[in-house]
């Protein structure tokens, strides 16, 4: 069977992502010192989502996978988030 050509992520790129993740961790702790009321949770979740996006695309190499796999992860992710939001709204509206 023929070998598929794989992209190799360099040391510099991996290090850059790692530094970004550490900076975002610092930001999420710093922001939590201030009370922006209900927006605080949303900020924390946005930062966590950004960190996850960096990990998924770079460390998990989704960036370099086939369109098929990207679509699969993307669709599953969107449906998952929509279901969580829908169920949460249902409960909190009771």
């Amino acid at each position: 069977m023929e070998e598929e050509k794989r992209h190799i992520v360099g040391l510099d790129k991996n290090t850059l992502i790692w530094i970004d993740l550490l900076i975002l961790t610092f930001v999420t702790i710093s922001v939590a010192q201030f009370n922006f009321r209900s927006v605080t949770v949303i900020i924390a979740l946005l930062i966590a989502s950004t960190k996850s996006y960096l990990v998924i695309t770079n460390f998990m190499h989704l960036k370099f996978e086939s369109r098929m796999l990207k679509l699969m992860v993307g669709i599953a992710g969107v449906i998952f988030i929509l279901i969580l939001i829908a169920l949460f709204l249902d409960y909190s509206a009771r």
């Binding site: 069977m1 598929e4 992502i17 993740l21 550490l22 960190k51 990990v55």
Partner: protein, 208 residues
């Protein structure tokens, strides 16, 4: 002329590296659903008892949480580099990086152990005397805290064992610079464990 079957094994071998990775991704979806349900329970109860959840969060040690976050992020970085090293043919470097990852997992668990021990000492574990003196919302907070970080801790152990097996396979030559999908899959699992912690940390330790 005699035909030696062993010489032909590598020619007829069927490999589908992408299919293997896809299988791992599908498994990871089920893990996300498992934790997703718990995050939903968390969201609903936090919405019902915002003040109690804040009171509970104050009792957690942000410094240990932050240190553990940095440890897990760094271990993810090590695994990502191990895959790159393997692709480049630097097998020894890949092994060292995987060993460092397991070391990070152990440090994480030791921190978690001391953190939990302090909570036990204060009697905050469900079933202990102090636990029943907590308000309803705060007791829910600690039930979720112990269950979710505990389940995550189990995943850390499983991930470390998985990587331990990969180290063995590398030694045996089953995982090598030509065939390294197993290494990539153990990496995918480890990154998922990292991502779950990325959400657990702000939601438990940083509640205002």
């Amino acid at each position: 002329m005699e035909i030696e079957p062993s010489n032909h094994v590598h020619l007829t071998e069927h490999r589908d590296d992408e299919g293997q990775r896809m299988g791992m991704w599908i498994f990871l979806f089920t893990e996300v659903i498992l934790f997703g349900g718990l995050f939903l329970v968390y969201a609903v109860y936090r919405n019902m008892h915002p003040v109690d959840f804040h009171e509970g969060s104050i009792k957690l040690n942000v410094v240990i949480g932050a240190i553990n976050t940095i440890i897990l992020l760094t271990s993810s970085y090590f695994v990502a580099m191990a895959v790159s090293s393997m692709q480049k043919g630097k097998v020894k470097q890949a092994r060292t990086l995987l060993l460092l990852t397991i070391l990070c997992a152990i440090i994480f668990l030791v921190n978690k152990f001391f953190e939990w021990q302090t909570k036990f000492h204060h009697g905050l574990f469900p079933g202990m005397e102090e636990f029943y003196k907590l308000s309803h919302g705060e007791s829910l907070f600690f039930i979720l805290y112990f269950f979710m970080t505990g389940l995550h801790g189990v995943h850390v152990i499983v991930g470390a064992v998985f990587i331990g097996f990969i180290l063995r396979y590398i030694k045996k030559g089953k995982v090598n610079p030509v065939r390294y999908t197993l290494l990539e899959n153990s990496g995918l699992y480890w990154h998922l464990v990292d991502i779950i912690w990325i959400f657990l940390f702000p939601l438990f330790y940083l509640i205002i």
